[in-house]
């Protein structure tokens, strides 16, 4: 059983190094071993796939931004749940009430975005904006 911090985190360091080595190895390996044949079909964005239509440089709908924003906020909420879950056994009912108050306020925010239709992706896009 590893006890000290360096011992506990050494496997993670090894894993990160292996991950970097595999990623770099694949790129370098294919660069060294692969043949460089360029044809029209090969240079297409999706080889043997669908033919791209139009420009890729289109503005995305603000909905994506909203979803990302809401995701961050609920992510921050979840971060607080983690230490709470670890010490829940010690806190008991007090811990439940404290977290209930916390979650309750945020659930009102969830209710608000639900009613505002932020999570509703099936609605028709208004003219002029691109999804």
């Amino acid at each position: 059983m590893p006890s000290s911090y360096p011992e506990i985190y050494f496997p993670i360091l090894v894993q990160v190094l292996i991950a970097i080595a595999i990623a770099a190895g694949m790129v370098v390996g294919s660069w060294l071993l692969g043949k460089r044949v360029r044809t029209r079909a090969k240079d297409m964005p999706y080889e043997s796939g669908m033919v791209p239509v139009g420009s890729t440089r289109e503005r995305f709908s603000v909905k994506f931004y909203l979803v990302a924003m809401v995701f961050i906020l609920f992510d921050v909420e979840l971060v607080f749940l983690y230490p709470w879950a670890v010490v829940y056994g010690e806190l008991g009912l007090y811990g439940f009430l404290v977290m209930f108050l916390f979650i309750d306020l945020i659930l009102w925010g969830f209710y608000y975005i639900w009613k505002k239709g932020v999570l509703d992706w099936s609605r028709e896009e208004p003219a002029g904006s691109q999804a």
Partner: protein
């Protein structure tokens, strides 16, 4: 060993930070920012803040990077044209940097004169258990106020983007 780890990851953080500023394409800058955040997480870990290091990766490198990428997509930001720097920037940039670094190192040496070296593993109270105990006893009010903050942020995000949705 500790000093080597610190220097390696501090160097990675600074190199990625310079890359964020220097890159011409915003997506490349954003990916460099992931490097900064990952290196910062390791620095937190070296200080013994285990939970903070994990949160740094999950929230910053995860959620906040997604937001940045979506903002880049939303603004449709392309490659930035190489722009010439104005003459005050050329003239004063380097001296100002030297003065700033000098001042910072002077103040840090003054304020933390009696500081001792941080050893990796010397401080072990940065785990979720210790944070949870403190959070739900001594820091209960800030914790509950955070939920108000999150609520206000949700309302703010929706109100700001509502014009585009409706």
């Amino acid at each position: 060993m500790d000093a080597v780890l610190f220097l390696v990851f501090a160097a990675i953080a600074v190199a990625c930070g310079i890359s964020v500023v220097v890159q011409r394409h915003p997506i490349t800058s954003a990916i460099s920012l992931i490097g900064v955040m990952g290196a910062l997480a390791v620095l937190y870990l070296l200080l013994g803040a285990e939970f903070l290091a994990a949160v740094q990766v999950v929230v910053y490198a995860g959620a906040i990077m997604v937001l940045f990428i979506f903002v880049i997509m939303l603004l449709n930001a392309g490659v930035e044209p190489p722009g010439g720097r104005s003459w005050p920037v050329r003239l004063l940039g380097l001296p100002m940097l030297v003065i700033l670094v000098g001042l910072l190192s002077f103040v840090i040496r003054r304020v933390f004169a009696g500081g001792e070296e941080v050893r990796f593993g010397a401080f072990t109270k940065g785990g979720p258990r210790e944070i949870g105990r403190l959070l739900f006893t001594d820091y209960l009010l800030p914790f509950e106020v955070t939920s108000v903050l999150i609520l206000v942020a949700i309302l703010g995000a929706v109100v700001l983007a509502r014009k585009e949705i409706d």
